[in-house]
Symmetry: C2
Subunit: 202 residues, 2 copies
């Protein structure tokens, strides 16, 4: 049982779906390609953690709809209570920013500006999916959390992260502006050199 397996079970616990749909939904949770998903679905089925039924379609190719079993649910519940493994973020942009002093400032600014527009896009999309998907939780047992709780708080988290990255990019751009030659000279004259204090090797 690897993490992807639990990500799949979590998604299926929320709503049964096909391998194809799974691949789309997992993108926000634990990204995976279909070539990794299909063999794992097969294995999880063999282990009795999920079932599937063939669904015939006329407008689209037929598909298999996977659902979590009771056994799968228990396996998932046990896993949730365990302390999570440390998170890993792999971002080439970080490395490029780290080494940006090697290239000219215009290249760096270009990289950041491209990231800014990318973030603007993502934030707009995220806000749309947050506001579009309104939900009334009427029929829920008030003692239990709704299954919409997880997706909701995750959407919120993603939006916050995107906003944060946007703000950071802006901050770096202003820093770069401030550090341009003329301003640096001015600071040198007026003795205000403190901005570049607190710079250190990680």
């Amino acid at each position: 049982m690897n993490t992807l397996a639990y990500a799949i079970l979590s998604t299926l616990a929320n709503h049964p779906c096909s391998g194809y749909e799974l691949a789309e939904h997992l993108d926000a949770l634990w990204p995976a390609k279909h070539s990794q998903i299909y063999p794992l679905l097969k294995k999880l089925h063999q282990d009795g953690l999920l079932t599937f039924e063939h669904v015939m379609q006329t407008d689209k190719p037929n598909k298999k709809i996977f659902s979590i079993t009771e056994k799968g649910k228990k396996e998932l519940e046990n896993w949730i209570a365990e302390p999570p493994a440390i998170s890993v973020t792999r971002d080439e942009f970080f490395i490029k920013m780290y080494a940006s002093w090697l290239v000219n400032e215009e290249d760096t600014k270009k990289l950041i500006n491209e990231r800014l527009t990318e973030m603007e896009h993502k934030i707009a999309l995220r806000k749309a999916s947050l506001s579009k998907a309104e939900y009334k939780d009427g029929e829920q047992d008030p003692n239990k959390l709704s299954k919409h709780f997880g997706p909701y708080i995750l959407l919120n988290r993603k939006l916050r992260l995107e906003k944060e990255e946007f703000e950071w990019c802006k901050w770096v751009l202003t820093l770069l502006e401030k550090m341009s030659f003329n301003t640096l000279l001015f600071w040198f004259i007026s003795g205000k050199f403190s901005v570049i204090k607190e710079m250190a090797f990680i």
Copy 2:
């Protein structure tokens, strides 16, 4: 040339170091185990992108100090200007939060509280490394960025991310408090059900 190779070159461009030190520094940039680093260093040396010299030590075992070559620098500079690959974050905590509706609320709160203390720790450490490492950029060519620029903005970014996660955890906890049975009942009576609006499947 994979991303780790560029992460290594970026670090060596900042300061020559041993494979052992490299493994520590890469943690903030592109985490890797020494078992992945040493063979790659060998390969990068064969390709002429870096050199090394044996350094004898009396208090500690001898080591190899790796440095980037001019060829390596050029290779790195070319890579930096290219658009970065999309970033990937893999965090089991996300999945556990997503599926938290399956387990009882106390387990969920425990998970979040553990994350909160973890974040408090990390934030304190990050702030310490930011304030401890003061730097004066006197001898730099003002037209060029200092090599301390990258590490500095990255430290800042990490701190922001940790603060953001801390705040999000707090937010989820208050949400959970608000959604507890008695409060829900109160809301039901007073008709204030809007808090659980905008909940949706991602």
